[in-house]
């Protein structure tokens, strides 16, 4: 039955691995069986009875429906949901409510790797990051470092700190919380202990990151030390995680002292492990039927989703260097007079500055993105206000361009054009019917289109100044964008036809 889940489950894990805040999940999965054994070993139980067959079948029916829906709608996250219900069905079939009660911590731990739908976790992390920046700003004031915070950016007299990167430690929030829950279950602490440990862990991660920002800013301002990049940045991140976990362990001892909670372990009666071993009963016909149904469904899902969710094939070494002269613009070395920089958020990114007369613009290329990337989110995080977004329809085979007008207090005015092309060099198009998608058939088609699409790369041109562009300058900037976009797409096509094949 687990085999039937595996193709969709694998796709889910690959997606989860691409999210920095969930990179802890393999360790959590590895720990789950041990927690299960601890739960069974330490739960006193004389005998257990299998759960009612009707309820067991209900668990499996939900698991099957989730698997089928995941395959039909190309929803990878349905695989862990299905697996969870399937495991719950197994537990119920073997030991009914008593065994399920003994193993509830395992169920909770498994749910921790399931991101909430709608990417609410991302929204919470963004909010935490902005709160961390605001708190760091106040603390910098208190220690006498002049600062001006806006969005996830802290300006200090000597530099501009992109705290979005510096504060990546906030990503460890989920990992620390997950391991805190794991610790509580492992040590068989009472459930109420979580009410102390989880908020404490969240506070530790948050304030550790605030202090990290403060230390990095102060080091830059006072000693011109860059702690925001390279190995130092990575080591700081690891150190923060270790410190936070150590503090959680310490808090557990503190809680034990204050609240006198005891580990739940009664060795006077036989453990649930013995009870399971003694009363394990299998109805071969039922289990084979259920397994066959799952295997058949799994095969159908595998067939339907074959080729979906392609991994990016553009390697880090892929060079998309743009020419020195582009539509009358000339590439210049990075100019520290440029008041702002382009926001790039892909795993690979390249920036280049071009000048034409008084106009200075930045071209940014970054990839991969799995599905449409909304660049306004990145700019919003960096403290920009999105004044307007215009969706320009493509001309011929050209890119579908987005024009964004940006404002950042106090004076900066930005003009940004961007478009996305896939790894074959084809420009991304918004599906015509997406805007008013209705009806199951249409949704199924759109979900298939999205899942089957190649990963995308983004190209953008950004100009920032203190005054809006006049019409002639607007046209120059658009020319630069189209020249850069054409060059980039042709290079991607060449790469796809050659090295990428």
């Amino acid at each position: 039955m687990l085999l039937a889940q595996s193709p969709l489950l694998w796709a889910f894990f690959v997606d989860l691995w691409s999210r920095p805040q969930y990179e802890f999940f393999p360790m959590l999965l590895a720990a789950v069986p041990f927690v299960g054994i601890v739960c069974l070993r330490d739960t006193p139980m004389n005998d257990i009875r299998p759960g009612r067959i009707g309820v067991t079948l209900l668990w499996f029916a939900v698991a099957w429906a989730a698997l089928a829906a995941g395959g039909a709608l190309y929803l990878r996250w349905m695989a862990p949901v299905s697996t969870w219900f399937m495991l719950a069905g197994c537990v119920w079939a073997i030991g009914g409510a008593r065994l399920a009660k003994a193993l509830w911590p395992v169920g909770v731990l498994l749910l921790l790797i399931l991101p909430p739908p709608g990417q609410y976790d991302e929204a919470v992390l963004v909010w935490l990051r902005q709160l961390a920046v605001a708190c760091a700003g106040r603390l910098l004031d208190l220690i006498g470092v002049p600062q001006f915070t806006h969005g996830a950016v802290i300006d200090i007299p000597n530099d501009r700190l992109m705290v979005e990167e510096a504060c990546s430690g906030i990503n460890s929030m989920l990992a620390v919380l997950a391991f805190t829950v794991l610790l509580a279950f492992w040590k068989r602490l009472p459930a109420l202990s979580l009410l102390l440990l989880v908020p404490a862990a969240a506070l530790y991660v948050f304030w550790a990151n605030v202090l990290r920002i403060v230390v990095c800013a102060a080091a830059k301002q006072w000693y011109d030390l860059d702690l925001l990049s390279g190995t130092t940045h990575d080591l700081l991140g690891i150190a923060l995680f270790v410190i936070c976990m150590a503090l959680v362990f310490s808090t557990e001892r503190l809680g034990q002292r204050v609240f006198q909670w005891d580990e739940v372990a009664d060795k006077s009666t036989p453990s649930a492990i013995n009870a399971v071993a003694a009363t394990w009963q299998v109805n071969p016909r039922l289990w084979v039927s259920i397994a066959a149904l799952f295997v058949l469904t799994g095969a159908l899902v595998t067939w339907r989703t074959g080729g979906a969710w392609r991994a990016s094939r553009l390697p880090p070494s892929a060079a998309f260097a743009l020419p020195v002269d582009l539509a009358g613009w000339t590439r210049v070395d990075e100019d520290d007079r440029a008041p702002e920089r382009a926001e790039v958020s892909g795993r690979q990114s390249q920036l280049a500055q071009y000048r034409r007369g008084d106009l200075l613009a930045t071209i940014g290329i970054d990839y991969p993105f799995y599905g449409f990337h909304d660049a306004t989110t990145c700019y919003g995080l960096a403290g920009w206000t999105i004044a307007s977004v215009k969706d320009r329809p493509p001309v011929g085979d050209g890119p579908a361009r987005f024009d964004i007008a940006l404002r950042r207090p106090p004076l900066s005015i930005g003009t940004m054009h961007y478009a996305l092309c896939d790894e074959t060099g084809r420009w991304w198009r918004r599906p015509a019917a997406e805007a008013d998608a209705s009806g199951l058939a249409l949704k199924l088609r759109l979900s298939r289109e999205r899942a089957m699409a190649y990963p995308l790369a983004q190209i953008q041109v950004l100009r920032v100044g203190y005054a809006p562009l006049d019409a002639a300058a607007e046209a120059e900037l658009e020319n630069l964008f189209h020249a850069a976009a054409d060059t980039f797409a042709s290079k991607v096509r060449a790469w796809h036809a050659g090295a990428g094949r």
Partner: protein, 174 residues
């Protein structure tokens, strides 16, 4: 009896493992209180005072940062933009300083008179000292000087510039 007492003494958990958590929680409480007391937005008077102190000790980068902050808090105050432009200029970025002045004193219309005057001065300086003899520089310098001459506080200096530029000063006509 003796055995029981020894056991209970041994079973008493060591205190040191809980010390880091206690210290951390106390530190967090202190920092939270500090941040809350500091308020959501900085005090404008304090910020202005810090900016002026930075100007006095010729720390123009810090001054520019504070004026930028002030301008974000009070965008309708042209004096902040003017002070920001001057601080930026003193760090050697006159082009950016001109652009900042342009936001409060555009060449096309009325604006903050001191900003018009300063732009005119810089453009005349570019023309006289660096030989910028193009028509655009001259036109811009005249426009800014003329705009500055409309304000009582800057009229005298603006008329002086118009003299240099070979224009009839404002109010000196027949």
């Amino acid at each position: 009896m003796t055995r029981i007492i020894c056991e209970s003494a041994d079973a008493r958990p060591a205190r040191w493992p809980m010390v880091p958590a206690g210290v951390a929680l106390a530190a967090i409480a202190t920092m939270t209180l500090s941040v809350v007391l500091a308020g959501a937005t900085p005090d404008v008077t304090t910020l202005r005072s810090k900016a002026e102190q930075a100007v006095a000790r010729k720390d123009d980068r810090t001054a520019a940062l504070h004026y930028r902050h002030l301008l974000a808090l009070q965008p309708q105050q042209p004096a902040h933009a003017f002070a920001l432009a001057e601080a930026i200029d003193r760090t050697g970025r006159r082009g950016e300083a001109m652009a900042v002045l342009g936001t409060i004193a555009p060449i096309s219309g009325d604006g903050y008179a001191p900003a018009h005057l300063r732009q005119a001065e810089w453009l005349v300086e570019a023309r006289v000292l660096r030989g910028a003899s193009d028509a655009a520089t001259l036109t811009a310098a005249r426009a800014h000087a003329t705009a500055a001459a409309r304000d009582d506080k800057t009229r005298s200096a603006a008329n002086g510039l118009l003299d240099i530029l070979g224009e009839a000063p404002a109010g000196s006509g027949p």
